[in-house]
């Protein structure tokens, strides 16, 4: 521990430094310092932007927080909004640990969602109870996402095609395939012929996940499904041989090959699992919102890309994804109230979110401003000092 203490000058500086040190050590904040400071910095810069456009940043942020947390209904909305982000971020984070950059969460969500929505309308599903119907829908969604992750994994392992390219292309294939499936009138494939807008038929009533709080959007049991998956993934990565192999392949595939691990198997499996996480999140949404909102292709747009930012903010840690997703969802829920009350555009929240990503990715900026020492072996260590 070499805490760099430069002459910040004066007793106040030293007192603040001491306060910070006791906070950091007391709450074991060292590993999450960079993300925390990145969020802080983004809000500061966002505040400056708000001031430039002529509004009062304190007032804006007050209403933003009110929108996020003011009352139980808003808290429920914030949580509900963040649930699918957990899945899409997990899809990124798991692949990250295997050294893969899965940009395809977008497509995996879409395909997982459509498969889940389709499974929910199978005729035999109408007759089975919820304990059967709900798992069938969730598994179907996960399988759909898994297929969309398996393809780039297989291509990478067998032909070396880079997963960034293939997942981006599969996003488009997925998007237009789903649009066609839902939009097509002749023949009618999955479209609800009775509805005026293009959407799938409502899923079986027994397949709807129970509601926790009647908020907008609905807070449903999908939350617990995603939390359980996070804990499970954390356990698998930390305690099992499969997790050990995955991380080894991510850190050093040559050493993994030398040690007798099957690198190709791990690549395919981790991409497939990543896709399954995204697909599961989409299925949870389809099932949880089934009562009010049948599947529409536009529903998951940009959710996969937001997953990249959340996974980075959580530094690839499956447990860290939970608070990061909550922040994401809450900001989106709080923004409209800020616009109403303080007259600041919703887009400022998007700007803040983008800056969080920027500062986490370019962590040298944060480390320089807040004098955070560099930690060893972070999952997303971008670059160490050049040694000659």
């Amino acid at each position: 521990m070499t805490e760099r203490e430069r002459g910040t000058g004066g007793r106040l500086g030293r007192a603040l430094g001491g306060l910070r040190r006791s906070l950091v050590e007391g709450f074991k904040l060292q590993p999450v310092l960079v993300p925390l400071y990145a969020i802080l910095l983004s809000f500061v810069v966002g505040g400056i932007l708000i001031a430039i456009v002529g509004a009062n940043p304190f007032k804006a942020y007050y209403w933003l927080v009110q929108g996020m947390l003011g009352g139980w209904e808003r808290v429920a909305s914030s949580i509900a909004r963040s649930v699918p982000y957990i899945g899409s971020a997990l899809a990124l984070a798991f692949a990250f640990r295997a050294g893969l950059f899965n940009i395809g969460a977008e497509g995996q969500l879409l395909v997982g969602g459509i498969v889940a929505a389709w499974a929910g309308t199978w005729s035999w599903m109408l007759e089975v109870p919820g304990v059967v119907a709900i798992p069938v829908i969730l598994i179907a969604g996960a399988a759909g996402g898994a297929l969309w992750g398996f393809i780039p994994g297989l291509l990478r392992a067998t032909t070396g095609a880079h997963e960034v390219i293939s997942t981006i292309m599969l996003n488009w294939i997925g998007l237009f395939m789903v649009r066609w499936l839902v939009n097509s009138r002749d023949p009618i494939i999955l479209r609800d012929a009775a509805a005026s807008v293009p959407r799938t038929r409502p899923i079986t009533p027994t397949g709807i996940l129970p509601e926790i709080y009647d908020s907008q959007p609905t807070l449903h049991w999908g939350l617990f499904v995603m939390l359980a998956v996070c804990v499970l993934v954390a356990y698998v990565l930390k305690r099992t041989n499969f997790g050990f192999e995955t991380i080894t392949v991510g850190l050093n595939p040559h050493a993994a090959h030398y040690a007798g691990m099957s690198v190709n198997k791990i690549i395919i499996l981790s991409m497939t699992l990543s896709g399954a996480f995204a697909g599961l999140a989409a299925a949870g949404e389809v099932s949880g919102m089934g009562a009010t909102q049948p599947y529409q292709p536009g529903h998951f747009i940009t959710m996969g890309f937001d997953g990249i930012a959340i996974a980075l903010l959580a530094r690839g840690n499956p447990i860290g994804i939970i608070p990061a997703s909550l922040l994401w969802g809450a900001l989106l829920v709080g923004a409209p109230l800020m616009q109403q009350q303080a007259g600041v555009s919703i887009d400022i929240v998007r700007i803040i979110q983008s800056m969080v990503l920027l500062f986490v990715a370019a962590d040298a900026i944060v480390r320089f401003i807040f004098r955070v020492r560099s930690d060893e072996g972070g999952a997303f260590q971008m670059s160490e000092e050049v040694t000659l």
Binding site: T2, R239, T240, N241, F242, F244, T248, L251, N252, H254, A255, A256, H257, Y258, A259, G260, M261, S262, E376, G377, L388
Partner: protein
């Protein structure tokens, strides 16, 4: 191509700007703006180029470099050393890399800097070359104090450095590489013709002929090194720092290289030569300074010093040079390779029709210059690389199509050539690295779930047994020194029931102490009845460890000898040429 587009775009923009300015000026005077715009557009850039080209000084070759001979009128090489280092101290967080180091380099002399890995040799020359700023001490260049203003300043004062890892761009030609960062220009255009001429001139003067138009990527390692030297001389270097220049060369190339170094010294250049090979030091040095633990351990005169005295200075204690080794008692064949062919990543067949046998209780050494198929041979035998043809039999089983794990299960250990790439996962702890070949077996894991306690216990035992110097088994392995990293691999691979050991470059980059330890371990495993396949580019290592020696040349075994009845010279010749001298028939 991209550069060309940018270049053209720049001129189009410039032309447009000139045209616009001319047009505006014309309009102000009542002329037709459009016509004047086009005039300016086409003629302006031509005028600009002509103007820049005519600007005095800018086109002269190496104009931004001071000519160092004339800037030191009071320098007398007979009295003053050309470079004097006084009391240099440089610390990194937690490490004192250099402590009060002195060094005197006279003009026209080869000064060898000798020391183990981590002794502070590289730090010292990096300070001289301006890469590091020292904490204390000063450097005098031709009697005047040298300011620490970075690499460009050091280069402008006539200091040049050839790094161990070449700083060349393979896709560019020799001339392009040489002028990179110091482009000779005529106006805005690079004057490659002038550069070519000067490269040829330097080549003739110092015996460093290279084709300026050859692509660097197509050149051999020895030729690339010559390009590095030309690069330094092109920048008018008077003092040349050579960082482990012979590590990558064949024995023949080393001799050629020494000839070049001598011709440089004869022409008045001064050289600091870093190495840890004692034989070379005695062959070329005029002066020797030995560093140990960041301090000067002593100086030696090559006329009176021996390898033994130098090694003792380097290590700080008596070093056993001859590896203590009993008679081999070879048993049945444990590893047999028949007519094996292997391809590298590019699909080039680098191992052809290779056949040999390793018997239990013997060390079979494979000598050869690097890049003659050693890597592919080892990877194929250990299951990491597919074989195009032929078969491999390990401990009586046909292992031709086995995967790495199956080969390990047979009782094979593998100490890989590249310890950071293959042997270790750097960010993992010492404990995880110590079990990375058996993490999936009991007691290290049960039903797929890892047992941290068992891994920990095993690691603690191995750290103790193999004397791995680490603060704990929970630190990331990349924080250990190279020698201790290699000990982690050796400990992991040699613990357990081993029938065959495959070792590749086991002591590359290690200090004398670690080399001793690892050699003893390899002999120990042989004496316990394992067959050892030893691949090394260090001929001395092969000679001192092996019981039988095969020479690999362009993917073929060109001879197999009994270690007792062969000589260094004989092997060296075979390694370099692939054939034996006509005058000397080798009986094998």
């Amino acid at each position: 191509m991209g550069a060309l587009i940018v270049y053209l775009a720049f001129w189009v923009v410039a032309a447009y700007l000139i045209g616009w300015l001319v047009g505006r000026a014309a309009k102000g005077r009542g002329h037709d703006a459009d016509r004047w715009f086009w005039l300016g557009f086409f003629l302006g850039p031509i005028a600009l180029i002509a103007l820049l080209a005519a600007k005095p000084g800018s086109g002269a070759p190496g104009a931004d470099l001071e000519v160092t001979d004339t800037s030191y009128p009071d320098f007398d090489p007979a009295v003053t050393p050309i470079l004097e280092v006084r009391g240099i101290t440089k610390t990194f967080p937690g490490v004192i890399a250099n402590e009060n180091v002195d060094l005197v380099l006279n003009k026209g002399e080869i000064h060898c800097l000798l020391g183990e890995n981590g002794a502070g040799k590289s730090t010292l020359v990096n300070v001289i070359f301006g890469l590091y700023h020292p904490d204390a001490g000063s450097i005098y260049l031709r009697g005047r104090q040298l300011e620490f203003k970075g690499v460009r300043h050091a280069i402008s004062q006539g200091i040049g450095m050839v790094h161990q890892h070449f700083q060349l761009i393979p896709v560019l030609t020799v001339a392009e590489n040489v002028i990179l960062g110091n482009e000779l220009t005529t106006g805005p255009l690079v004057d490659i013709g002038e550069a070519r001429r000067r490269i040829r001139e330097i080549g003739e003067k110092y015996g460093l002929e290279v084709d300026p138009d050859a692509k660097v990527g197509d050149l051999s390692v020895g030729e690339q090194q010559r390009v590095e030297l030309v690069k330094a001389l092109f920048r008018r270097a008077e003092i040349l720092i050579l960082d482990e220049p012979t590590a990558v060369l064949t024995p023949g190339e080393v001799d050629e290289f020494f000839a070049v170094v001598r011709s440089l010294v004869d022409q008045g250049k001064s050289i600091i030569f870093i190495t840890h090979k004692l034989r070379e030091v005695l062959a070329v040095a005029d002066h020797i300074t030995v560093l140990r633990g960041g301090k000067v351990a002593g100086s030696a005169d090559p006329a009176t010093a021996t390898q033994q005295t130098l090694a003792n200075l380097m290590v700080g204690r008596d070093v056993v040079f001859r590896v203590e080794k009993g008679e081999a008692r070879p048993g049945r064949a444990v590893l047999s390779v028949h007519d094996m062919c292997v391809e590298d990543e590019r699909g080039v067949q680098t191992v052809s029709d290779l056949s040999f046998e390793v018997r239990a209780g013997e060390i079979f050494g494979i000598a050869g210059v690097q890049g003659n198929g050693q890597r592919e041979l080892v990877e194929a035998v250990t299951g990491m690389r597919r074989k195009v043809a032929g078969s491999v039999e390990i401990l009586g089983e046909d292992a031709t199509r086995f995967k790495p794990r199956q080969i390990t299960e047979l009782g094979t250990a593998h100490i890989p050539e590249d310890r950071t790439k293959h042997g270790l996962v750097g960010p993992y702890t010492v404990a995880d690295n110590l079990v990375i070949n058996r993490y999936h077996k009991a007691p290290y894991s049960r039903r797929g779930v890892r047992n941290q306690a068992a891994i920990h216990d095993e690691a603690a035992v191995l750290v103790e047994e193999y004397d791995i110097r680490t603060p704990s088994v929970d630190v990331p392995v990349h924080t250990l020194s190279g020698g201790n990293q290699q000990k982690v691999i050796v400990a992991r691979e040699l613990s357990g029931d081993i029938g065959v050991l495959i070792v590749s470059q086991p002591t590359r980059g290690l200090d004398v102490g670690s080399i001793e330890f690892i050699h003893q371990q390899i002999i120990g495993i042989r004496d316990r009845g394992a067959g050892v396949l030893l691949v090394s580019a260090e001929l001395d290592e092969i000679l001192s460890l092996s019981d039988r020696i095969g020479v690999l040349y362009r993917g073929k075994l060109v001879g197999i000898f009994d270690a007792a009845s062969t000589t260094r010279e004989q092997l060296g010749y075979l390694m370099a040429t692939g054939s034996t001298p006509d005058t000397e028939e080798v009986a094998s």
